[in-house]
Chain length 204, copies 3
Amino acid sequence: MFYLTIDILGTIAFAISGVLVAMEKKLDIFGVLIIAFVTAVGGGTLRDMLIGNTPVVWMHELVYIFTILGAVIFAILFVNQIKYLRKTLFLFDTIGIGLFTMVGIEKGLSADLMPVMCIILGTITASFGGVIRDILCNEIPVIFHKEIYATACILGGLSYFLLIQLPIDDTYAYSTAILIIILVRILAVKFHIALPNIYRSKGT
Amino acid sequence: MFYLTIDILGTIAFAISGVLVAMEKKLDIFGVLIIAFVTAVGGGTLRDMLIGNTPVVWMHELVYIFTILGAVIFAILFVNQIKYLRKTLFLFDTIGIGLFTMVGIEKGLSADLMPVMCIILGTITASFGGVIRDILCNEIPVIFHKEIYATACILGGLSYFLLIQLPIDDTYAYSTAILIIILVRILAVKFHIALPNIYRSKGT
Amino acid sequence: MFYLTIDILGTIAFAISGVLVAMEKKLDIFGVLIIAFVTAVGGGTLRDMLIGNTPVVWMHELVYIFTILGAVIFAILFVNQIKYLRKTLFLFDTIGIGLFTMVGIEKGLSADLMPVMCIILGTITASFGGVIRDILCNEIPVIFHKEIYATACILGGLSYFLLIQLPIDDTYAYSTAILIIILVRILAVKFHIALPNIYRSKGT
């Protein structure tokens, strides 16, 4: 029940982020809906196709379709008000990233994959919805040049595999990893921490 | 035989639409061929990967490869004449959309998916070839901002699931759904019916 | 051992080509890493998803991840020196294309596909990493309008299926096909051989 709630909140936040990008591109209602859908379930869909977990997960669960539909209608109706919700959405989004990463890692473990591959799958689950959204909107994916996002997923995933070495409960390790992802992302955004620059700055 | 003919006509129309977009981008012969191929089979390929129906369908059937190859050669040779065929191509394309939608719905039913998911699969089958074509050509997919296209697929799919509730033959429901898709699209294009605008018009 | 070496060299060349395109787009470290990864394994990943060979191949082998990681670090550190290595990289890249094509063909044969489909799979294995790289970087894929690349794969694949008709050893046919791909590409680049132009030149 607790995880389902987080899952739904994350899906809502992802879908709304899709609506906002799509509306900036002046897509029609159908386009907005597709972009919202792809943003919310794209990462999990790619993950499932990579490991052969088909039909992919949202095909068995009406809850995703209806959550996304509701989020899209809400976002289109209140698009002007949504800017006042940015902080709430950022929080939902960050919680979603944390949970989605761990869901991906779990799926990797059930498919008997090595920890490194599980962490990659977790990161794909949490971040490729946004990548596909940006590609469909003809933009270079924002996570490739701006946000600490995947880094948070990777750090959380690493923590999880370190924590389960300790004599502690798996649920505890799982929740701690989610919290670490959330914390890393919030701190990075708050203190403008970015990945080290690999380009020489001009003029210095 | 009848369905095969429609399938081939749809494939030809889709492939030619790929050639036209690719030639506008001045791609070379190989690029034109790939875009034509992806436009014609991309939707069905994504559908098959989503439900785990692999190897995907065109890998078992030489008929698609050769139909597309023929259509590409024809389209490149007669590119200047093709504009006079626009009406014929639009008709083939629309018939193809109708059939492809129902093929996708059938595949969803064989995979024991819920009606909503079947309709989504049908719409993906009919429309994602064009989406992938536009992404490969570095354009925002045209169906996200211009055409009533997916809406026709969804309406047709809904009709099908309503019709099979009635005590009528499945073939009859199937054909009626295809006709509804064709009619909706033709009427939408003829009378310039578009999706409701979700953006405030400026200056009013 | 011999094939593993070629595989690694090809992976390095593909990854470095990804780094160079990504750095031109000023992506951050994470973006550069993803583009390098996708360029190196994207073709094989798409192939595996198309034939249902899941989890896809790199998920079972740490060697790809670490090779790509090493190549990315090297390429970022020595980006200014890499231009002096262009010939070496072109050679690695070309050898990689030859091998990757044949790996794809082998996978098609194991999946009982027809020769035409195997050649398509080989070409996808060798060329779609670069296609996905260009799409993620918001460019029209370079192989659709500039390079003889896929043509080399197709010619090599055809040769393989002709050669195995002869009473010769399979290994011999396999190696000859790789050599043909390498030769076709080197000759095409050296003598500026391009695909026939399908556009009327202006002003004549």
